[in-house]
Assembly symmetry: C2
Homo-oligomer: 141 residues x 2
C-alpha cells in the first residue's frame, strides 16, 4: 500500500511515516514512480514504533529492538547489541517512575477539577498543590 493508506489505517500522519523511515525504523520499497510501497505488515510495525516512542524509547534503541520483534520470531537476537538488555532494563525502570509521576499528577488534576467544579477555589489550590508536585519523591534517582 502507499503512504496515504498506511497513514489512514494507522492514524499516523504521512509526514511521521517519512520521518520514521529517515530514522531507519521502516524501509518501504519504492514503486516505479518513486512512491513508497508498504507491505501489510507495516501496520503492525508502525503500531510497535508508536508504542515504543510513546513510552519514551529513543529511535536508536527502537531500531535495535525491532528486528527482535519480527515474525517469524526467530533467533535474530544474535544481531542485537550485547548491551540491549541493560539499556532496556534502564528504560523499564524509567517507565516505572514515569507511571508513578503521571498517576500522581492525574490524581492531582482530577482533584483540582473536582474542587473547581464544587466552586471551592481554596480547596482546589490546596489539594492540587499537595499532589501535583513531588517529581522528587516519585521519580528521583
Amino acid at each position: 500500500m502507499r503512504i496515504g493508506e498506511l497513514a489512514r489505517r494507522t492514524e499516523v500522519p504521512a509526514r511521521l511515516l517519512r520521518y520514521y523511515e529517515d530514522r531507519g525504523l521502516i524501509s518501504p520499497e519504492r514503486g516505479p514512480s518513486g512512491y513508497r510501497d508498504y507491505p501489510e505488515s507495516a501496520i503492525n510495525r508502525v503500531n510497535q514504533i508508536r508504542g515504543l516512542l510513546e513510552s519514551g524509547l529513543p529511535a536508536e534503541i527502537i531500531r535495535d529492538v525491532l528486528p527482535c520483534l519480527e515474525s517469524p520470531c526467530t533467533l535474530q537476537l544474535r544481531d542485537a547489541p550485547p548491551d540491549l538488555a541493560a539499556r532496556l532494563e534502564v528504560h523499564r525502570d524509567r517507565i516505572d517512575r514515569r507511571i508513578a509521576c503521571l498517576s500522581r499528577n492525574r490524581d492531582a488534576i482530577a482533584a483540582y477539577l473536582a474542587s473547581l467544579r464544587a466552586g471551592d477555589p481554596g480547596t482546589a489550590a490546596a489539594s492540587a498543590a499537595a499532589g501535583m508536585v513531588d517529581v522528587q519523591s516519585a521519580a528521583a534517582g
Copy 2:
C-alpha cells in the same frame, strides 16, 4: 539563593531554570551583579513545573495553572482563563491513556527481558510483540 544552589537542591540543571524563566514559568529577582536571586519558595515551584512538564502539559498551560497553586491559596482563579478547566480535562484524559500505554509497554519490556534472561528468544519476541504494541487499543481516540 542563586541559580547554582537552586539547581543543586532541585536537581534541575541551571540551564533548564533559565529556560523556564524564558518561558515565563519563574521570574527571579536580580541582584546588583545581575545574578538571579531565587526565594526559598522557588524549590517548590520548580518541582511543580517539573511534575507538570513530565505529565506532558505544555509550558503555556502551566503558566496559567501555576498562579492557582500559589500560597496563600486565595482566589486567583478569577484570573484563570475560562477554558482552563476544559483544557485540564482534556489533559487528564490524555494522561489516563498515556498511563495505560506505558503500563502495557512496561509489562512487555519486562516480559521480553525475562525471556531474554531465560535464553528463550522465541518466547521473548512473541511476548514482546504481543504486548508492546497497541497504542491504538490503549490510547486511540
